[in-house]
Amino acid sequence: MMNEKQMKEKVQPKSITSPDLKRKTTLVFIVVAALYLYSTYKTESTLPEFIKSFPRMIEMFGGFFPPNLEYVSRVIPALVETFYMAIIATTISTLLTIPFCLLAARNINTNKITNQITRFFLNIIRTIPDIILAVVFVGVFGIGAFPGIIALIFFSLGILAKLLSDTLETIDMQPLDAMRASGANSLQTIWYGVVPQILPQFVSFSLYVFEINIRASVVLGLVGAGGIGLLLDQQLKWFRYDNVMMLIIVIFFVVVIIEYISSKIREAIV
């Protein structure tokens, strides 16, 4: 004989998710899987293809080792140029970003038209990949570090202005209101009301963009825009995989070290 408690357990549904949700999840799953199959078909990225290329891959990785240690002497100057490019681009874009982020923040710039125009402009910059910008600037200025720097400036301006205007929108507006009420002009309110509130984030984001720029300038050389990417392109074309491996090792260590240092600095200031 069953008691009441056992009865209740019997009628309980088998699953904790509702059939409606289940149906929806299944449908989404099927769509995602079907799209995946279609895109693998379109891009010829099937498993057999991958397996077929496996011996070639192993052969190539064999060529990567041992890395040519003597090649370091050629890598360092290119690396230094990469650094210079990232430093200059980051500096200029942090300066340029100030008017842009003020214009793009909804609470600082209450003029709807200029606000929307700035946001639209920044959104467009952000959608263009850095290397395409570099391609265009190389077309204009010729090969060298200069077009790379210009491309990085545009690229980091888009990121920085977006991050900073978002931060600006979260600041405490009450000190600003108080300052305006006691007769401060807009420059004074920005300097004494806004700047102290966002300075730590400003420095932190600038370092973050510097990190991104180092990483980005590594590849800019592929399209002739200076830096370490130029060597990478060259050595690959000459099938000097031992040199390529050396380059990869250097890039790896530089990126890791930069990331470590900048995360330490960011921890210290925010």
Partner: protein, 266 residues
Amino acid sequence: MRYELPPKKKISTSKKLKYTTIAIAIIAIFFVTFTQININWERIFSDRTINNFSRVIPQLFSPDWSTFGKVMEKMVETVFIAYAGALMASIIAVPMAFLAARNMFRFRIISSLGKWLLDAVRAFPELVFAIIFVATVGPGPFAGVLAIAINSTGMLGKLYSEVIESIDMKVVEAMEANGANKTQVFFYGILPQVIPEFLSYAIYRFEVDVRASSVLGIVGAGGIGFLITIAVANRNWDEVGMILLVIIIVVTIIDYISSFIRKRLV
């Protein structure tokens, strides 16, 4: 009426010294950078540049609509590369993230190793992977998919592992105390907490990957970048304008859709 600023806070000598050293170091770095960088200013500010400028820029802003069909076809391929790569990565990243999360295994070595591996993968731009894969599997979109997949695994694994580290472990403990086994804890205690954010990150990554895969073609790994290289080589700047326009519009649409879905997820 007199205007007076409040007295300034006193700064200790050691702090002053610290700030001065930092300031000197920064100034020194800038000085070296701006004096040492090798830029041929004469060539940049020459008539040729001005010529280029007046030829390239107007053409960029008057896109060549006759190439629209061709460009669109390659853009679709770009999106497919991003989709296949991002989906592959979002699945591979799950076990990687559990390995790298500090609260999942008792041994710190495992999570450190996992984190180190993900960091190592993330250190390289996807173009570097693309170059390597083009050399191994040959030029074509497949190399692009592999490059995107590996690069996204590095990023997603890191983001996922942070999600796992932030979950409510009390639920897990409660289940363990009630005698649930490892599988049950995983499916009923951990997964429900992390899935919405995993999905959100995966969709976000797809957004990033569409942008990334639009340049893969520059090194021969498929997608719209291939058209850019050819158009630039032939100095068809109006075609480059068309390509840029298509990239901007498609990326914006995908960003919009993905942020819409993500808002509903989390």
